[in-house]
Amino acid sequence: MKKEQGHDIYGLMGEFLTPEQILHAAAKAREAGYKYISAYTPFPVEGLAHAIGFPRTGVPFLTLIGGLGGGLTGFGLQYWCSVITYPLNIGGRPLNSWPAFIPVTFELTILGAATFAVIGMLALNRLPQPYHPVFNVSRFAHASSDRFFLCIESRDAKFDLAGTAKFLQSIQAHHVHEVSNAE
């Protein structure tokens, strides 16, 4: 089944040599009015997420939720065990001996926060995701080594195969690759 024109192409990808080049390219692409841009780099490039328009991560909020949940679970568990379901009177000491419950509460706070931070990061990044169209570009293997890629997706309203390719060349892309949707 042949899809309508433009849908068998995921986008166009420009290859760059340095972090400075890709920062510059990302800014130019935004200026030119492209909305669906993504950048791929072998290490985090400062300011790049901002340059392609992605200011907030959502990870800190999830971590806070995980930490609060872990801490409340920790204290609640100990309170319930020691006061409600299995009270032991030892020398008339209070059942809710909260200072003794601090270490476990603390540890479970950290456990909850750390687990939420990692799972939240993966989930928001939509990982695990074994297949993605960008992997169809053979040069893309260098994105995890020594090259920087800027991809403009075909779903962008401004996308046009020839025009966008020309645009990528105009912002000093070393190479321009076509990213196909087909496997």
Partner: protein
């Protein structure tokens, strides 16, 4: 008012060795580190080392099997010395793990660039040390198949753990520590696993690293959330690592046994943990950089810095030893005074003197730059400190338990063959895991090294 020169121009800073030797590019650091895993065949040294450590792991399996068949009576423990080697080794191993988290979390928060090339294998060391440590509390329960009793679960007997006991705090502290260290390690590995996937030569490598890397693409969106999560993890791991050895020290300090019941224990246990941990990182780093030609990445600067951390934490430990004596005599508590005398003159005094020699006297050589820059001296020193820290735990556990309040409750402790074989077996397990690790995963964080190359080229330009 004179203007101060920018830090780069200060002569004493310029004199420092670089954290990465010049002349490296993104591709060269990637190639060099990935090649160890992907293309280099195992060397003879690796095969021999792996075979030896594997043999020692078999000794561990035999020891554990015999223990499960016969029970803890095969050890030298008795009444009053119910703790013995199992707890000595547990505290020693868990302490060694602490340097890994310190390097990966605390030095990250302090923006110390030199951590980059040593954090990966220091974190691996943490995980393996925690694995070795975890064996001991499990087996010293006597019936390890009932170990789940320590966790709160709705049992048909309707009983629940005693949450006022430090031994239960330990269960939570150590299991949280193991889990968070694993998460931290995995998050750090994720981009490097993608690098290995992209450079894999064989189908098996492609499939395995492909699955492990979860489809990481290094997109700016990925990195942005990744950095946020990594920073948060570092912030969470920092109080965690300090809490773990604090809780371990509570196992002692909450008891009323002379020599244990002191408030100096938490800080001095944490300092001792970092001390032994850095010694173990040196023990591993020195042969590793030599065997795989990684001297450009693990430079003299790293070894020098680690030696300095060892010296500093060693002095804190020495202060702890001094305060133990001071408090015994200042309090004039006759049991504490007696215990202090027993350390100096009792049946286990030679352990105490060996401890002072290993942990306090020998490391003073590290004041001299010449010694810190001599790789052979550092290697020997790291082994001496590891021995010293093991002796410290032996002194704490055994001398206090053999000499508590009433002479009728005094005793002697003599470790048996099985005590030693189990301990040596865990060392074999640790070494074997390290050998496997350097072959199947990148021992240095590749993505972070590329970042370092970028920063270095920025510095050269400015």
């Amino acid at each position: 008012m004179s203007t101060t020169p920018p830090p780069g121009d200060l002569p004493e800073i310029r004199r420092l060795d670089p954290v990465l030797e010049p002349g490296h590019t993104y591709a060269s650091v990637t190639d060099k580190i990935a090649a160890v895993v992907l293309t280099q065949p195992p060397t003879t040294g690796w095969i021999v080392g792996f075979a030896l450590s594997f043999t020692v792991v078999m000794v561990l399996f035999i020891s554990l099997s015999w223990l499960i068949i016969k029970g803890v009576g095969i050890w030298g423990i008795n009444i009053p010395i119910g703790w013995g080697f199992a707890i000595v080794n547990f505290v020693w191993w868990i302490g060694i793990g602490h340097a890994g988290t310190l390097i990966s979390a605390i030095l990250f928060l302090l923006n110390q660039k030199w951590r980059t090339s040593i954090n990966r294998f220091a974190e691996a060391m943490t995980l393996f040390a925690v694995a070795c440590a975890g064996i001991f509390p499990l087996i010293h329960t006597g019936r390890p198949w009932m170990a789940y009793y320590m966790f709160p679960y709705p049992s048909t007997m309707g009983i629940w753990p005693q949450f006022r006991s430090p031994l239960i705090w330990d269960v939570f502290a150590v299991s949280t520590y193991g889990t968070v260290s694993l998460l931290f390690w995995f998050v750090g590995l994720l981009p490097d696993l993608a690098t290995l996937r992209d450079r894999a030569k064989t189908r098996a490598q492609q499939v395995i690293y492909g699955i492990l890397s979860m489809g990481w693409r290094g997109s700016a969106h990925h990195w942005h959330r990744y950095q946020s999560a990594y920073l948060l993890l570092a912030g969470l791991a920092t109080p965690l690592v300090l809490s773990v050895h604090t809780v371990v020290s509570f196992d002692f300090a909450v008891a009323i046994v002379p020599g244990w019941h002191t408030t100096i224990f938490p800080p001095y246990f944490v300092a001792g943990a970092i001390y032994s941990g850095f010694a173990m990182v040196l023990t591993l780093a020195i042969p590793l950089r030599k065997a795989y030609g990684l001297e450009d990445f693990i430079t003299m600067r790293h070894l020098d810095n680690m030696a300095k951390v060892m010296l500093a934490t060693g002095l804190i430990v020495a202060y702890g030893y001094f305060i133990e004596f001071f408090m015994a005599f200042y309090s004039n508590n006759k049991f504490d005074v007696f215990l202090a005398q027993q350390r100096l003159h009792g049946p286990y005094a030679h352990f105490y003197y060996a401890l002072i020699l290993c942990n306090i006297l020998t490391p003073q050589l590290l004041w001299f730059e010449k010694m810190r820059r001599n790789v052979a001296v550092l290697f020997v020193m790291s082994l001496v400190v590891n021995t010293g820290m093991w002796l410290e735990r032996f002194v704490i556990v055994v001398i206090s338990l053999t000499r508590d309040f009433m002479p009728s409750a005094w005793g002697r402790y003599l470790p048996t063959f099985w005590d030693y074989s189990t301990f040596i077996g865990t060392i074999g397990l640790f070494v074997m895991l390290i050998f496997l690790f350097v072959r199947v995963l990148p021992a240095i964080a590749i993505a972070e090294m590329r970042e370092l190359v970028h920063e270095q080229s920025d510095e050269e330009k400015s």
